[in-house]
């Protein structure tokens, strides 16, 4: 301290002490001191803990993705036991809040409040007069012989009678709120019955011209198996009679009448399906467009008809499923087919059209799932995703998910065969009815069935594809869309962007750092270094904007010139450098001075200008006057305006100052006496550089590259703005890609809180976090060791 400071201090202490200091006793001061220590320690630790808390929190949000599904039995209600002849006529169901379950059997439906099991009466007052009379189907001639469920938001059934008629029947739930208390009321109604089997049924194939509408109903019209579906153009039914005849019926609704009187007219289209194997049919299935009919036989065959022209059903194929097929169902979207057999095997099949041959789709088994001990008795698809529920004759209940190929839950059951089942509308539960007459409801915890390690990181065979692919396509138009959560394409995009950006940035930054640290005059360095570091302060949104809206369109025009720059620049530098040697040193001055820097700038600007002037000529010489066509025809590469090359420049710019600054620090921190020693022993500056400086500073350069890498990997705005954000997988320098970070920015605002997509985006964040942490830790450790080594000298 100098004299002036001292005197100033003396003046301060000479002033009379404030009264406060007299009051503050020694104990008080000690108390303040120790409590300050506590506060600072606590604050310090709180900050540090919160840093680690980020990692923990990301992990907590991701963990449920890989949680196993769980189940609990939530209710068990005794209803009348099931007799063996009955199974075809039984159905169970539940509302979306899992508060009311029902059993539909014969001509009767009973509702039960869950979990208590008390019967819920159908309140006639909820229906108006005309509706009330139609509330329950009118069974004039006998009870239900077969029953078919038409999957969808409402509980829709086709009830097949012993006289060959099909009665549409609907169960729905009316939800009302009274003082914030939810009230679920069941409502049933039925539709217009129609004849699904022509009567009488003669021994010969049915002749529609002659036999229609003649004679009385016969015993042969008895419907043994039924498939029923309500399509947009009217209901459609496939009925197998007790005598093994298959009839296909469609109530075609067509708009009739004049321009002003729009009326719908129904027309009954009916045909008998005569093909080999019909008599052996045990299960039938129709799709929601009414275009295909599937049948499973007792001898284990799968029959596949094209019924687009309902009058002319055509058997497209016959496939073997091994043993007798006991259950069939579509998954949501009516593309994938679940097949259950007598031996208890469960498999998913998919129609595949060979792109080379075209023509009819071919059914192909794509996945097997865990088997049941006995025959598969029922399959119920989820209404929300590609999951489904299967039940077995041994009482087992299992929940599977098609896309991820996993069986999520296996409930052993108590041995009594399960006859009917339904997956709850929100897939958070199930209701089943077993032979002993118990109606059991399960709560199912199954939040993220579609994500497994293999479905995220390995190719998956998605609906509508020929073979397994890596695809990221998280949202589609409808519920039936199969979300494709392959993380590879976006991880690939991240790697692609990183590689190209680092390829451009590394040489520029490291070479620049070498020159600045080793050859530049200190007074110039004092200006140059902060200027380059200013680049680090550029908000990346600015770089992204310039890259996307200024550089990308520009690059599209001057692409040939840019290619020429990469080729000509080294040549020009070499030529000028050789010429420089012959210049008198009077002109050059000392090495590393402003003259030299100006020379570099001039060479650079000159070459760039030269290339730009010759842009069109270069395009003519090198690329046949059209570089896009040339790229396409020579290498099969498409050129997009916003591409990886643009990203390389923009991200390169973002990361050059980081790498430059840290490398320069480590290069210029090489102990000066080492350099002096090397020079004193007669080494040239060049030898000193290559043999000493670069080698001893290489850990610092390495850590600079690592830190730069960490920055590039997670950069968001530049890639968001200057690539097309398409998750494609190729290394083409001239098209776009999507990175983990941009993917988060694009999809997070639309991801519902707590959903699979939301958690997957957290997983993407966690991956970035972990990767950058590893890279940065590595860099930091290397740097600390380097610092320790330098301090030894």
């Amino acid at each position: 301290m100098n004299q002036a400071d001292l005197s100033a201090n003396q003046i301060e202490t000479a002033s009379p002490p404030a009264p406060v200091s007299r009051v503050s006793s020694r104990a008080w001061r000690r108390w303040v001191d120790s409590s300050a220590r506590v506060v600072i320690t606590f604050g310090g630790w709180a900050t540090i803990v919160s840093i680690f808390g980020i990692f923990a929190y990301l992990f907590i949000e991701v963990a449920p993705l890989f949680d196993a599904a769980s189940w609990t039995e939530s209710a068990s209600v005794h209803v009348a036991p099931v007799d063996a002849a009955e199974p075809e006529t039984i159905a169970v169901g539940i509302d979306e809040y899992m508060e009311v379950g029902y059993v539909l059997r014969k001509s009767d439906i009973a509702f039960y409040a869950l979990p208590a099991g008390t019967p819920v009466p159908l309140d006639p007052s909820v229906l108006s007069g005309a509706e009330r009379s139609r509330r329950m189907p009118d069974f004039e001639d006998g009870e239900i012989a077969a029953l078919a469920r038409s999957p969808g938001k409402t509980h829709t059934y086709g009830l097949g009678t012993k006289t060959g008629r099909v009665i549409p029947f609907y169960v729905s739930f009316r939800v009302t709120f009274d003082d914030d208390v939810r009230n679920v009321e069941p409502v049933v109604s039925s539709g217009e019955p129609f004849e699904a089997v022509p009567t009488p049924v003669g021994p010969e194939p049915f002749d529609y011209a002659q036999d229609r509408h003649s004679g009385a109903k016969s015993k042969d019209a008895h419907i043994a198996r039924l498939a029923y579906r309500e399509t947009d153009s009217g209901p459609i039914a496939a009925a197998l009679t007790g005598s093994g005849r298959l009839f296909l019926t469609k109530m075609q609704e067509s708009e009739a009448g004049g321009l002003f009187a729009l009326e719908t007219e129904t027309e009954l289209l009916q045909v008998e399906v005569i093909d080999e194997g019909v008599a052996a049919l045990s299960v039938l299935l129709l799709d929601d467009l009414g275009e295909t009919l599937l049948g499973g036989t007792k001898d284990g065959r799968l029959l596949y008809w094209d019924i687009q022209d309902i009058r002319n059903p055509r058997l497209m194929g016959m496939y073997s499923a091994g043993t007798a097929i006991t259950a069939l169902s579509y998954l949501i979207g009516d593309r994938s087919i679940v097949v259950g057999t007598e031996r208890g095997t469960v498999s998913v099949w998919m129609p595949v059209i060979d792109p080379d041959v075209g023509g009819d789709p071919r059914l192909q088994k794509i996945r097997d799932f865990a088997s049941h001990d006995g025959a598969v008795t029922a399959i119920s698809p989820s209404l929300r995703d590609k999951g489904f529920l299967t039940t077995g004759a041994s009482g087992g209940v299992a929940v599977h998910h098609s896309t991820s190929g996993q069986t999520l839950i296996q409930i052993p059951g108590n041995g009594a065969a399960i006859r009917a089942a339904m997956f709850a509308p929100k897939t958070d539960g199930a209701v089943v009815l077993d032979d002993s007459g118990r109606l059991i409801a399960y709560d199912i915890e199954n939040e993220h069935p579609e994500s497994t390690f293999s479905s995220l990181f390995f190719p998956v065979l998605y609906e509508g594809y020929e073979e397994p692919h890596h695809i990221w396509q998280s949202t589609g138009g409808s519920d039936a869309f199969e979300p494709k959560f392959g993380l590879w394409p976006i991880m690939f995009g991240t790697v692609k962007g990183t590689i190209y950006a680092m390829l451009l940035a590394t040489p520029l930054a490291v070479l620049g750092a070498i020159y600045t640290a080793m050859f530049m005059r200190p007074n110039i360095r004092a200006v140059v270094k902060p200027v380059v570091e200013t680049m680090a302060a550029f908000p990346t949104v600015v770089l992204g904007f310039l890259a996307g809206l200024w550089f990308a369109p520009l690059l599209e025009q001057i692409f040939p010139a840019v290619v020429a720059m990469f080729l000509l620049l080294p040549l020009a530098v070499a030529l000028v450098c050789i010429g420089w040697q012959f210049l008198p040193s009077r002109l050059k001055g000392q090495s590393g001075n402003v003259t030299e820097l100006v020379a570099f700038v001039l060479v650079l600007v000159g070459t760039v200008w030269f290339c730009l002037q010759l842009n069109h000529q270069i395009e003519t010489w090198l690329f046949d006057s059209d570089y896009k066509g040339w790229l396409q025809s020579s290498f099969g590469l498409a050129y997009d305006q916003r591409n990886a090359l643009v990203i390389a420049f923009a991200m390169g710019m973002a990361v050059i100052p980081t790498i430059f600054s840290i490398s320069e620090d480590s290069l210029s921190n090489v102990p000066p006496h080492l350099i002096a020693g090397s020079l004193a022993l007669g080494a040239t500056p060049w030898q000193t550089l290559t043999k000493l400086v670069i080698i001893s500073a290489s850990p610092g350069v390495f850590s600079a590259l690592m830190i730069g890498l960490g920055r590039v990997v997670g950069e968001t705005m530049i890639v968001l703005m200057a690539t097309g954000n398409t998750p494609v997988m190729d290394m083409n320098l001239f098209n776009g890609f999507r990175t983990l970070s941009a993917n988060i920015a694009v999809e997070m605002p639309e991801a519902p809180h707590g959903g699979t997509l939301y958690r997957l985006l957290f997983l993407a964040g966690l991956l970035l976090f972990v990767f950058t942490s590893i890279v940065n830790t590595l860099a930091e450790i290397v740097r600390q060791r380097l610092r320790a080594r330098y301090s030894q000298f």
Partner: protein, 544 residues
């Protein structure tokens, strides 16, 4: 000779030249980008001259000359070097469909800059370039002809702008207040209902109050209508250079200029007026025109809240690490962790902010304190508070590292001297170390602010919007509305540049925003550098 080549190669001159070129390239990149932003951003405010061209087919074009270029693939025998073409901003989007037009140079028969051409800035459809045919009030013609109309128009535009201000005041302040009160009463009623007191006299009272407010609201809406009618009172018929007419209410015109008739002084004056109006006005036309005031305000507010959050934590942690903790393995691990945090991509902080602050903390606050507003979230959605906290987390390593630097620069003698004179550790921290480390803390804060100002990705998840209905600060209690969404300069760039339907017309606005953002960020960084240098010098001098 081969000897000479060998010597040349051994000298490494070639390699040194490559290194030097790399430095030159980096410098050029910085300079080029800065220059690009400056030219495009600063040029925006200048009242550009209008050019009127007569083309070879007799049609005419009037507009601002923007650029000239060689037409790609146009080498012909007559034009061996390739033909050129010029790009004009012709405005009149409602008549032409596009704001810009390319004109081949060889089609231009003559070009001049008429003094009587007028550039109108309009509230809708962008600029209009042309002349005035007549000014009328209802059916009565007030003035005809370009010159007479120009003179008649000046006071009318001033009046219309006053009217707009009045309307805005009415909408924003008066009617806005009433809406705010109505919403408040609605929530109060809902709250009482939730507590099972829906039949109390208080509710009836509140309902009566709502009725009253609504009637007041309707009265003001009437006034508003009357004012809007006044805007349409005067109209002007404009004619574009080829003679097509366009009738326009005077209320649609923001300002009318005759750039070719302005002196240099007038232009410079106009330049600064334009500059100020961009800084101080509300945006128009989906942010592509008007000003960026709400974005600047939002950015500043967010940065301020962030600073309040980040400084105490950063400084406490740095003091703990440097002054209180025992130096050892744990502290080393913590330092590495802090460094790592600085390297974590900003979008990851956004994800964390959304999950933790918005959904977890915000959702809980809503359930506890704002149940009456549910299911509309109050704090359970992105807002300025959560965005600021997220950025505080993002920048806390910067403050820690910088404060530590400041602390380590304080000579050990200061501590020892203070303790030797009988001060407790805390007292010497507070009176001696903290003041000495203040420049370091300040540097950290400035760097943190600079980083936060330019950061966009995490904000996109935690509460930034393209157009915020209200500023986060107003005259309603409690004045600071932490739950509100806000606008931000960086997001403004992203949104206007990439999400607006007419990107070409929006570009100048983006450049202006970019310029302001870059100036602020670089200014902050330079001041941090200066402060750091000052600190180093100070301790170097005193340590000797």
């Amino acid at each position: 000779m081969p000897d000479r080549i060998k010597k040349f190669l051994d000298s490494g001159a070639l390699f040194i030249w490559f290194c030097g070129t790399a430095v030159a390239a980096s410098l050029l990149m910085v300079g080029g980008v800065l220059l690009l932003i400056m030219i495009n951003g600063l040029g925006f405010f200048w009242p550009h001259a209008l050019v009127e061209m007569t083309l070879s087919d007799g049609t005419r074009v009037l507009g601002e000359l923007k650029s000239e270029e060689v037409i790609p693939y146009s080498e012909t025998p007559e034009f061996p070097k390739g033909k050129t073409r010029v790009r004009l901003k012709v405005g009149n989007r409602d008549l032409y469909g596009l704001d810009f037009r390319w004109v081949d140079t060889d089609r231009i028969a003559s070009a001049d800059s008429p003094k009587d051409a007028v550039a109108f800035e309009r509230r809708e459809w962008g600029n209009f370039y042309g002349r005035i045919r007549e000014v009328s009030r209802g059916e009565d013609i007030v003035a005809t002809g370009n010159q007479e109309g120009w003179q008649a128009l000046q006071p009318l535009i001033g009046r219309a702008n006053d009217l707009h201000e009045e309307i805005e005041h009415l909408q924003r302040d008066v009617i806005g207040d009433i809406n705010y009160e109505i919403e408040g009463t609605r929530l109060r009623i809902r709250e009482l209902e939730l507590h099972g007191r829906s039949q109390t006299p208080e509710v009836t009272e509140l309902q009566a109050a709502t009725k009253q407010l609504e009637s007041r609201y309707h009265k003001h809406v009437e006034t508003l209508r009357a004012l809007s009618r006044q805007l349409d009172e005067y109209s002007v018929v404009l004619v574009e250079t080829n003679g097509s007419e366009k009738r326009l209410a005077v209320g649609q015109i923001v300002k009318a200029l005759r750039p070719n008739d302005m002196s240099l002084i007038e232009k410079i004056l106009r330049y600064f007026i334009n500059f100020w109006s961009v800084l101080s006005e509300e945006p128009r036309e989906a942010n592509t025109e008007g000003g960026i005031f709400p974005a600047i305000f939002g950015t500043v507010m967010m940065v301020l809240i962030m600073s309040v959050a980040v400084v105490p934590f950063g400084v406490l942690a740095a003091f703990y690490l440097r002054e209180y903790a025992r130096q050892g393995l744990i502290v080393r691990v913590i330092r590495i962790a802090v460094n790592n945090l600085a390297g974590v991509p900003s979008i990851v902080f956004g994800v964390f902010g959304l999950g933790f602050f918005v959904y977890a903390v915000g959702g809980t606050i809503d359930n506890l304190f704002y149940p009456e507003a549910l299911p509309t979230p109050t704090f359970g959605t992105g807002g300025i508070l959560w965005a600021s906290f997220t950025l505080a987390l993002l920048t806390v390593p910067v403050v820690i590292v910088s404060t530590e630097e400041g602390l380590s620069a304080v000579p050990q003698e200061y501590r020892e001297g203070s303790l030797a004179l009988g001060a407790t550790k805390f007292e010497s921290m507070l009176r001696v170390i903290l003041p000495s480390a203040l420049p370091g803390i300040l540097t950290g804060l400035i760097l943190a602010v600079a980083r936060a100002t330019g950061e966009v990705a995490p904000l996109m998840l935690t509460g930034v919007v393209k157009l915020a209905p209200a500023l986060p600060l107003d005259h309603h209690f409690p004045f600071l509305h932490f739950e509100r969404k806000f606008m931000h300069l960086g997001f403004h760039i992203f949104d206007v540049g990439f999400q607006s339907p007419n990107v070409e017309a929006a570009k100048p606005m983006v450049y202006v925003t970019t310029l302001i953002l870059v100036m602020v960020v670089i200014g902050l960084n330079l001041s941090a550098v200066a402060l750091r240098n000052y600190m180093q010098k100070k301790f170097k001098a005193s340590a000797v």
